[in-house]
Subunit: 283 residues, 2 copies
């Protein structure tokens, strides 16, 4: 049975490339306007899965999606890492010297700071998605503008690439998470678990929370702190640790964690993602 | 003696307001184009101090400045929190319905997501600084554009405020740090210390690092993880903890920390900042 997978933006977006690497070419991919629409489509059951970026190796975490994970009732069912190569894409006949405005997502701008330092006259216009920026430049037949997006977006929209791999860091990688309505049994090992919690602001509180893992030799993979909205600088902690929530040590650790936290939520146990290099192709 | 203080952007930027709240009105404030120029001016000795934003209660950390702290040899000598009220600012005679384009910093856009949801046709153009966006709208005499910036920028540039306090969160607060070339003895208590470290990726490594503080009853104030550039998803940890590096327990804790980390750097010990409400005035 073909499943529906929601991704943000337009065909050729990095999230679509990540989704295809994860699910393969035969599923049905549904593009929705924004990250929040991905959560909405999966929550409502319109799509079985959704894919959103959660962290970039240069630009850091995508806070909006961390916040949405907290607010929604969705589960993380998988992840995949994708090497991100950013291209400057323009209409046919447009030369680099003609370009005055660049359309792209703010994350793409922050991955390509060196390019803007070398070309300080370029005006940056923020668009909700990189591939949407390409569509805009094409639809409006702009002759003095370009988009920063994937090679695949240039192929899909039949546009010209006027600069390739302009990202500052040649190992520029984005981690994407797969969202589903129900928890799923991880298909392969190693497995990781994501949780979010907060605790009273007392000395040693975070240390006690991490102790529940250390005492059981459970490896911490990532810790991310986020200010609680409207509470000044009180923090929520997003934690990724090794293992499945159904393993005995992990189950005991989170039971223990819930005794000492004021808020706790399980986000998902899922197979650790592989690093994929996108395959660009005419389609 | 009047000291020179560097801040990014233009007169009326939130960082200038924070700098004036911290140092008072009689010092000489020098505006420089970008965050990185603040680090450069202080490093070269052209300015005695610099001020940059480090964290916003809605939008999270300003990663670029965390990275610059790591790369520079500057010390954090103080901090201040500022309540941030965002205004939509336009040329005289321009009405809300005339505005098609909004110029601002990407952090201002992410603090005002609700405003753009209610006005989805608005085009967001990214500018290095909020007050610079006001200057641009004024200098280019734009009749179909506005800027998102502080009330002070509207006063300084003699422009009209067409919407006030459009930030999503009414407690929207930014934390700014003061940068100097030399460490300074904190003027008042309580004092906090900022450090950055990384360790081998082995189970319990972060727990051991935090143990050096917990065992001495030292309160952790903030922990921020950042991917190491070019190293995939290996992390650096920025840690703020209570107390002065010259206090015996804190000194022992960081000595202990250096035994178990592969990288360690002290960023500064400084008085905990107060929360300031900007005073807007004609000048």
């Amino acid at each position: 049975m073909i499943v529906k997978v929601a991704f943000p933006g337009e065909r050729g977006s990095f999230t679509e490339l990540a989704a295809i690497e994860y699910f393969g070419e035969s599923e049905k991919y549904v593009c929705v306007p924004d990250f929040s629409d991905v959560f909405e489509r999966v929550s409502s059951g319109a799509c079985k899965y959704g894919v959103v970026p959660i962290e970039n190796s240069s630009a850091g975490s995508i806070h909006q999606n961390y916040d949405s994970l907290l607010e929604s009732n969705l589960h993380i069912t998988g992840e995949i890492m994708l090497r991100i190569g950013q291209c400057v894409i323009a209409n046919n006949g447009v030369k680099k010297k003609d370009v005055q405005t660049i359309y792209s997502h703010s994350a793409a701008f922050s991955q390509c700071k060196g390019y803007f330092r070398k070309n300080p006259a370029l005006q940056k216009v923020q668009i909700p998605n990189t591939a949407l920026a390409v569509k805009k430049v094409k639809d409006e037949k702009l002759k003095n503008a370009a988009a920063i997006a994937s090679m695949q977006a240039a192929i899909d929209f039949e546009m010209n690439v006027i600069a390739e791999n302009i990202e500052d860091n040649k190992w520029n990688t984005t981690r994407f998470i797969i969202l589903g309505r129900k928890p799923e049994r991880p298909a392969f090992t190693p497995v990781k678990t994501s949780v979010v919690f907060s605790m009273q602001n007392i000395p040693g509180a975070l240390f006690k929370c991490l102790a529940v893992f250390a005492l059981r030799d459970i490896d911490l993979i990532k810790i991310e702190s986020r200010p609680v909205h409207g509470k000044g600088f009180k923090y929520l902690f997003y934690l990724d640790f090794a293992g499945d929530i159904n393993d005995p040590a992990q189950k005991n650790a989170v039971n223990n964690l819930q005794e000492i936290t004021s808020f706790y939520k399980h986000l998902g146990s899922y197979s650790c993602g592989r690093l994929a290099y996108p395959k660009y192709r005419k389609r």
